[in-house]
Symmetry: C2
Subunit: 203 residues, 2 copies
């Protein structure tokens, strides 16, 4: 495994080696990929891992020359076995930081412990409001007038780790879950890349 | 009691008769007073009620020619008796809408029921995050990067009623409770007056 480039003493900082975990479309992964291509983030995507072999994002990653792996939770008796398999893949690819980009599972101790403090998640609400699933629907149901997204370090709580950055969007009277989700997603893409840029510069 | 001017059929709308409840400085009350003086809000302050006879805002209100009343909770055996006294004062002054402007008590059924749907509160956070006391300290302790304030209709929950409007401020790395509170307070003054302007125009 390579050394994390977060030390203030190591300049110029080596490119960050990212492992991206997804479950679906991987739109944030695509945005991060683009920001790396544009030279905004000093990193490379070492491997893309999905818990869903059929996920659209996985096919996109492979088609764009990225290394990919997928693991079905059902193929493992225990969650710890499932996460050990993911962990081995991340280690095999020398992953420094793990990026949860629409990974729809609560990360367990097996996967978290080796990457604690080096695993980031993005969530489509202004945490601590609306953790968990369907955050945009929760926000609409509550009737908030602003929402947004949050990038945070992952800990062993549901969307409860230390916040790194947040971005705000308005919630409009005519919003549906789809329209609000789209608006939040567009700022997710910008915010996630901005955070990874800072991390890749050694914080 | 005068009729509520919220009907869409009554145009031009009669000035809204506000009862303002405070506990301390009453800075939002002063902002609302200023916005009425400037003709921004079609309303008059019928009476200012404090649960603290020593509150600075009460003295300011009296000095500015507003009618005032104060009631110590300790002077009443039951909360319902305390609220009955406040309610009588509001009724005696023909109050249409009740504005909680830094009123530091949970409103009980006695006071709420007659004004349900015509009682607004301002809270110094982006609800549903950080309800209750010390919202700014809660926000700093959590480490959010944005906060703000929320104007909502009062119901029988702690800061849980339907949201009317929210305004956002950044939380800065160097913020203290005082500096964050000041930043939020400055947008509270603008937001509260904006909401009362809309209410005074008949929603």
């Amino acid at each position: 495994m390579t050394t994390s480039p977060t030390s203030q003493d190591d300049k110029p900082v080596a490119p960050l080696s990212l492992g991206i975990l997804i479950s679906g479309r991987g739109s944030n992964m695509k945005a991060i990929y683009g920001a790396i291509q544009d030279g905004e983030i000093n990193a490379h995507i070492a491997v893309v891992v999905s818990d869903n072999p059929e996920s659209e994002g996985l096919a996109w990653a492979a088609a764009n020359g990225l290394k990919t792996a997928s693991f079905s939770r059902q193929a493992f008796a225990k969650k710890s076995d499932f996460e050990t398999a993911i962990l081995k893949t991340l280690a095999d690819h020398g992953v420094d930081w793990v990026v949860l980009a629409g990974y729809m599972r609560l990360v367990g101790k097996t996967l978290l412990t080796p990457y604690q403090g080096r695993m980031v998640n993005i969530h489509p609400s202004l945490l601590p409001a609306f953790p968990g699933l369907h955050a945009q629907a929760q926000a609409l149901a509550y009737g908030v007038k602003v929402s947004g997204c949050t990038v945070h370090l992952v800990d062993n709580t549901m969307d409860g780790g230390p916040i790194i950055a947040q971005e705000v969007v308005p919630v409009l009277p005519e919003d549906t879950v789809a329209s609000l989700s789209d608006r939040i997603l567009s700022v997710e893409h910008v915010l996630f890349s901005r955070v990874l840029k800072v991390i890749s510069q050694g914080f």
